[in-house]
Symmetry: C2
Subunit: 79 residues, 2 copies
């Protein structure tokens, strides 16, 4: 089973990387870029075949390693 | 208009970060993680309101800055 995980900064947390990208896009001649937020996108290939068990495993992985839950949100999509 | 961009390594390109994450998950006691691929997830807030024009703009941004098209794929989703 495959899982897709998005890890994004929580609303209100400053995103210096996003700001840098927005600035670079502006200087590269792309006007009209109001804001950019950058996060992580992970694809996990799991041996588990049961969806509910896989979701619980990935949730635990996010809580322990993949996301810093103080400043980041995560979303899990099973495929 | 908002655009969501996923930038991922092309198939076959070695992903050292993904390998490191898979290894860390294994040592944290998560068996059954066959593979992990890590990519970038970007949310762009654009002033443009026309979908087609916005898609063309974001495509050009990906080609110029957001993705290294030699080793990376990108996908654009307008919201």
């Amino acid at each position: 089973m495959k899982a897709r995980v998005h890890v994004t900064l929580k609303y209100g947390v400053l995103d210096p990387q996003g700001k840098a990208i927005a600035g670079a896009l502006g200087s590269l001649g792309f006007p009209g870029v109001n804001d950019v937020r950058q996060g992580k996108y992970l694809e996990l290939d799991l041996a588990e075949t049961d969806a509910e068990t896989a979701r619980e495993q990935v949730k635990a992985m996010c809580e322990k390693l993949l996301a810093n839950t103080v400043i980041e949100n995560y979303s899990i999509e099973l495929v």
